[in-house]
């Protein structure tokens, strides 16, 4: 298959993020607009209804390394969250526990990662986990 160069992919994703492609429950963009390497991204997930995450806005940091999109990005929650696969003390998303990261394909994107994390919030094992008070963030 023809491999899209990394920057092209990321620029495309940047544009999608700004245009709000998708259902409006996730958002992403460059952390720093001047970042020419397009590595550091911020993401936002709106907690799904009928779960303990409801009505909350979760902020994340997504890092797309040089091998992206062949390699998955590293994802980290900034807002404190209690969820399976998320490290409780620093918010890093365990790439082995989140299926989309462990079985990454180069057709996946930041949007898909965010949407998948959001979907996992609705899973039975996660949706009722007691959550820390709103607005807390991890210290790093």
């Amino acid at each position: 298959m023809f491999k899209v160069p990394r920057n092209f992919r990321l620029l495309e994703e940047l544009e999608e993020g700004q245009k709000g492609v998708g259902d409006g429950t996730v958002s992403w963009g460059l952390e720093d607009d001047e970042d020419m390497t397009l590595t550091r991204w911020t993401g936002m997930i709106i907690g799904p209804a009928r779960t303990n995450y409801e009505n909350r806005i979760y902020s994340l940091k997504v890092e797309c390394g040089p091998k992206y999109p062949e390699a998955p990005p590293t994802v980290r929650f900034v807002t404190k969250i209690s969820m399976n696969g998320i490290n409780n003390s620093n918010g890093t998303v365990d790439s082995r526990s989140i299926p989309i990261l462990s079985k990454w394909q180069n057709s996946y994107s930041i949007k898909i990662v965010l949407q998948e994390l959001r979907r996992l919030m609705t899973s039975k094992e996660n949706m009722k986990l007691p959550q820390p008070p709103e607005g807390q963030t991890y210290s790093n």
């Binding site: 700004q18 709000g20 963009g29």
Partner: protein
């Protein structure tokens, strides 16, 4: 770009200092539910943007949270700063007054109340039954039995309910739990409860410490066997913990059972199983967590395939019994057993009835029908005797079978039980049917039906006619099973 020096036509924002400069851009504002296009000046601040949005979406400004490209737009920022341009989309979240944050704050309080409540949920059979029993009539003296098993939880009496009497507290909790299945599932999901339940030794200790349970164990070594098997306990608790898994198991059991029917000779085995399960079912009739005991039955899918008798058989004493402490305690013990039992298969019959009974349980016990039933039972000494001499539901059902009008009278006499009445009648009829089907004779007394079996047992040296009869009743006439039962019930 910003070349229209004239007043901006779309500038309906209030207080724009440099009104003439900014271009109007159209920004799409999207909420999870809806989407609006808002025209705003390019140089506007987020605050101004929010004002416009609040008008359009009819929400207060401070309820609005704007997100663009993964960042939250703070009031002090400007749209420009974030690179918001014409045609782009900004996400909007309208915060409602009640937030999921409440979930966090209420969980500490719920976990403390679940500690008190956990005395009920971890051994789902025991407490609800005793609390249920203690509900209407019987003294709350039975609850201390369970409490002592759980260590000193009386200190929790002051929590939450404000009731000085811990028994009352527990009863209240039970009633609340029963009426609100969601709360129950919440409690079950509480990590504290789950931790407790995941510790088989702890569970076992708790169950065993209950004197009612001990009585039951003496009567039925199978229970102690089951309790001693850690694997089984763990499975049971997994099941009790995870309602979804329980249902899965139940479905598997049903499928296994239907397969079983097609095996030659399997139908008889099924019938036997039905009669065995009748008892737990009756306990479910008064046990509020009706479905739980059964699903616990679904512990071992393999044994379902075996036509031979199942291991599970805790004869559950009769739930229709008068509110005497004996039968209540038996009930309590019985239902615990119902919860704790496994390795038996879970017949499909008990499932629909179990669920039916669960909703019945509350109404039934409290309904005048039940009370009139009890009245009639007490009036009819034959029945009383049966009940007292044989703690098995079966004998009572036999009497009921003999006096079918007795059975039909009871539900009918309950005046305004509404749907409960219909359900009760159905339940009664079903029970009678099954009983009749299981016994194969319906209206004969057990002695008559099992005459030949009794003789055989006698010839083999089992001279205790009463015990023989009970064993035969329990096994539905199967001599081998009865023998096993008799041997098992010898003092061990």
């Amino acid at each position: 770009m910003a070349d229209n020096g004239a007043a901006d036509p779309g500038n309906n924002n209030n207080n724009k200092p440099d009104a003439s400069e900014g271009t109007i851009i159209k920004v799409t504002v999207k909420t999870p539910k809806d989407k609006e296009e808002i025209a705003i000046s390019e140089d506007a601040s987020v605050t101004q943007f929010k004002e416009e949005i609040s008008r359009r979406f009819k929400a207060k400004q401070d309820q609005l949270v704007l997100i663009f490209a993964g960042k939250i737009l703070k009031d002090g920022d400007s749209l420009n700063q974030h690179g918001i341009k014409d045609g782009l989309t900004v996400h909007l979240v309208i915060k409602t007054a009640h937030k999921a944050g409440d979930g966090a704050s209420s969980s500490p309080s719920s976990s403390s109340s679940t500690q008190a409540g956990s005395s009920s949920s971890p051994s789902p059979g025991t407490n609800p039954s005793t609390a249920g029993t203690t509900g209407p009539a019987a003294p709350p003296t039975q609850t201390p039995n369970i409490l002592t098993g759980f260590g000193d939880l009386s200190s929790l009496a002051g929590l939450g309910m404000g009731s000085a009497n811990f028994m009352e507290l527990q009863q209240q909790m039970q009633r609340q739990l029963m009426s609100n299945p969601e709360m129950l599932s919440q409690i079950m999901e509480n990590p504290l409860v789950q931790n407790m339940m995941s510790n088989p030794d702890l569970m076992r200790q708790m169950i065993v410490a209950n004197p009612q349970m001990q009585q039951l164990m003496e009567r039925n070594p199978e229970i102690s066997h089951m309790l001693n098997n850690p694997e089984l306990m763990r499975q049971t608790m997994e099941l009790a913990r995870n309602p979804a898994m329980m249902q899965e198991m139940m479905r598997n059991q049903d499928r296994a059972l239907s397969n079983l029917e097609s095996i030659p000779g399997g139908y008889n085995a099924l019938r036997r199983m039905y009669t065995d399960i009748q008892e737990p079912m009756f306990s479910a009739a008064r046990e509020q967590f009706g479905s739980n005991p059964f699903s616990a039955l679904g512990g071992n899918s393999e044994s379902g395939a075996q036509p031979s008798r199942t291991e599970n058989r805790e004869p559950l004493p009769n739930p229709w019994g008068p509110p005497s402490s004996t039968s209540s305690s038996e009930n309590g013990g019985g239902t615990t057993a119902g919860t704790g039992t496994t390795t038996g298969t879970n017949p499909s019959v008990s499932n629909p009835l179990g669920i039916n009974a669960a909703s019945l349980g509350n109404g039934m016990f409290n309904s005048p029908g039940m009370q009139s039933l009890m009245q009639q039972i007490s009036e009819n000494p034959q029945l009383m005797q049966n009940m007292l001499s044989a703690p098995y539901m079966r004998s009572m059902m036999q009497s009921l079978a003999q006096n079918p009008e007795l059975a039909s009278q009871n539900p009918a006499s309950s005046p305004s039980a509404g749907t409960n009445t219909a359900q009760q009648q159905q339940l009664m009829q079903q029970m009678l049917q099954m009983f009749a089907g299981g016994g194969g004779g319906g209206t004969q007394t057990p002695e008559v039906r099992f005459q030949s079996q009794l003789d055989q047992l006698n010839a083999m040296g089992f001279i205790n006619r009463e015990a023989n009869l009970q064993a035969l009743i329990a096994t539905g006439g199967d001599i081998n099973a009865a023998i096993e039962r008799l041997l098992g019930s010898q003092p061990s």
